[in-house]
Subunit: 402 residues, 2 copies
């Protein structure tokens, strides 16, 4: 006699975690070189020097109680002031400490937002495909329902018109993840304006605001100067969830925030609801030491590292004939699975070549695999002959891989 | 249009947090000395030297990625092995890594356990009064209901017979918090055996196990050699939730665990349900660096510090005539409110003397205040004349304070 939903979720690891665990096992048995693991979005660059310096400084502090004690549930006031000032400089919008609620990374931030927005069972949250599969879990925390908007091919932008048609009076929020996991796509300002126009109209129609839930842990991970617009300036009813997992290479340490900007209708009340939701989810405060570390360190990710990986992998795979989406951001490369069956291709890559790539069926994009290139360059170099042999194999079966 | 439950919880701070925030404000306005803050269980001793050494060692590591990357959702395997070995030595029971699930402190651990145990709306969780007020929040996460077992006076033990009478087929779990917050009582082995006997009989009667949910962040904070029995050896269907917040003075850093011991019926399935519950609550992994720190540092709290505070405060208050419960553990002193109205006494202590003590109405023990003596000894010294003046004041009104 257990909670059935919880039991099923605990018993079925995500396909990403499944592949990662397999990779760890094979590495332990046969050595690091036996596997090329592209499964997990675990950064392969160390935290920026500013972050490491902050850890060293705080470890040497003669007032450890000030670093490890409880903070307010919403986070230390000084930390929130620092983050607000930083975001004000970045966005040009007047943000202050009170607009921030610090969390243990983006997952509990998104979960608390969904909880706060769920008024009744059956309330709906929509994500444009491809989307991070855990959105389907976050959406249901307080009895909500997850719905996927089919991917717009070939550019993988958001089909604003189709989104409008999906919206019902039960719709409470729409996830926006840009740069996108798993596609690496950065939604253009034009596309976001279309989405904003549709949501504005639909909000009026249904009689309540439909919130954009902006999940942007990859905000700083963009190449060639691609723009990641500040969404609340485009669509006021936007809540921003951020995590330092990727930009500061601190995924295990769990630090991030929810920003409910003053553009949001009834933003104070929404913030209270998010605080109450977090409390219901077991939140006491975001890890205190990590709060001070991210406030002390203003740093940028090692873009050159990821960019080199991006180009090497994209060039090599397309040379073999694979059809890939050239990523403008994040550290994922989408590749069409030869033959169209992503699970079969992922399995074949795993068993024949020890190459671990994630089938995107769970991301709402069947027929594609996700290659997380946040790995050491040597892993990419080692994988290339394997990808080539797989291409030859599929061609030998008469399957066009383009 | 928000989730109403979340909004209310976010809008009504706990009375503890309310007092603490008031204290912070007054200190900022009039200086540290203006307030004697006994509101919050925030340790006033620094983390043990072993813990600080671990922070310094890890901050100097030349492999930061190994410290800050994702761990498995249940926690790093090596860390769990270390904790299991430690608990095996302490309890004499054969515990292994697989029995542990690391969490961001006790609050999400308890929340996940309640979630996992809630099969349907209306399932019941019982706590013997006095109890930590957040149990009433944790219980309801998946639609459960919280019920309080009235306190057994004068010893504040658990009335096992009355507990048995409260149990219905909807009862899923019973909280046990020993050493107890707010009473400082350590339940005796005899009392726990009575509880176990009742729960065993009632489990048979209702046809499913009634779980003990053992919340023991104060496990090591016991005085004069008081025994804190390992509950699963007394009652097999026990889940243990632990936090390093108090013993390692790391409350802000959020690190703890759920132990589902092999004595539990269907312990593997229960663990899966807890893992799924945690995932539903936004858990990805417990803060990674903190996992490594608590594994690296085997340390004890500064008992002498708390013991000295305990004796000073108890002796002084009882000399004034206050009626107090001499605490055997934790760092809280219960004191009967003169006149019987704890809220009125707390308010009077605050406004007249700047002494912040928490009325225990929310802990299921009206008529008492909780004095958290995890403070600098100077705070206690400063408070004594204030407590004395309050005693004189109440007596001048013809109110016996004994």
């Amino acid at each position: 006699m257990w909670n059935q939903k919880a039991f099923e979720r605990g018993n079925s690891r995500s396909v990403i975690r499944e592949l990662f665990a397999y990779g760890q096992k094979i590495k332990a048995e046969r050595g690091e070189e036996a596997v090329c693991d592209f499964s997990l979005g675990n950064p392969a660059t160390p935290p920026p020097e500013e972050v490491l310096t902050a850890f060293r400084t705080f470890a040497a502090s003669d007032d450890p109680m000030a670093l490890h004690g409880y903070t307010a549930a919403e986070g230390d006031l000084g930390v929130r002031k620092t983050l607000a000032d930083r975001d004000t400089r970045r966005t040009g919008e007047p943000l202050t400490a009170e607009h921030y609620f610090l969390t243990a990374g983006a997952a509990p931030a998104l979960t608390a937002v969904c909880y706060a927005l769920t008024v009744g069972a059956g309330d709906e949250f929509i994500a444009p495909a491809p989307y991070f599969p855990e959105y389907a879990v976050f959406s249901t925390v307080a009895g909500g329902v997850f719905r996927a908007l089919p991917a717009r091919l070939p550019d993988l932008g958001i089909d604003a018109e189709a989104l409008g048609e999906m919206i019902t009076p039960a719709t409470r929020g729409v996830f926006i993840n840009s740069p996108n996991n798993p596609s690496g796509v950065v939604y253009t300002r034009e596309n976001l304006l279309e989405v904003a126009a549709v949501l504005t109209e639909k909000s009026r129609e249904v009689g309540h605001p439909i919130y954009l839930i902006c999940d942007e842990p990859y905000r700083e991970l963009v190449y060639d100067g691609a723009e990641v617009p500040y969404l609340p300036a485009i669509y006021p009813a936007t809540v921003v969830c951020y995590s330092y997992s990727k930009s500061y290479s601190l995924p295990g340490d769990r630090i991030g925030y929810v920003l409910v900007p003053p553009t949001c209708p009834e933003h104070g009340e929404l913030r209270a609801a998010i605080a109450g939701a977090a409390r219901t989810l077991g939140h006491v405060c975001a890890p205190a030491l990590l709060q001070y570390v991210v406030a002390a360190a203003e740093a940028k990710p090692d873009l050159a590292f990821y960019d080199a990986n991006r180009r090497t992998l994209y060039d090599a795979l397309t040379s073999c004939g694979y059809e890939c989406v050239f990523p403008a951001g994040a550290f994922y490369l989408l590749c069409r699975a030869p033959g169209g069956d992503a699970k079969a291709f992922s399995e074949e890559a795993k068993t024949r070549e020890g190459i671990l790539v994630v089938p995107c069926d769970g991301f709402g994009l069947p027929g594609y695999v996700r290659i997380a290139y946040c790995v050491a360059p040597s892993v990419i170099a080692r994988s290339l002959s394997g990808f080539e042999r797989l291409a030859v194999l599929y061609r030998s079966r008469g399957i066009s891989i383009k």
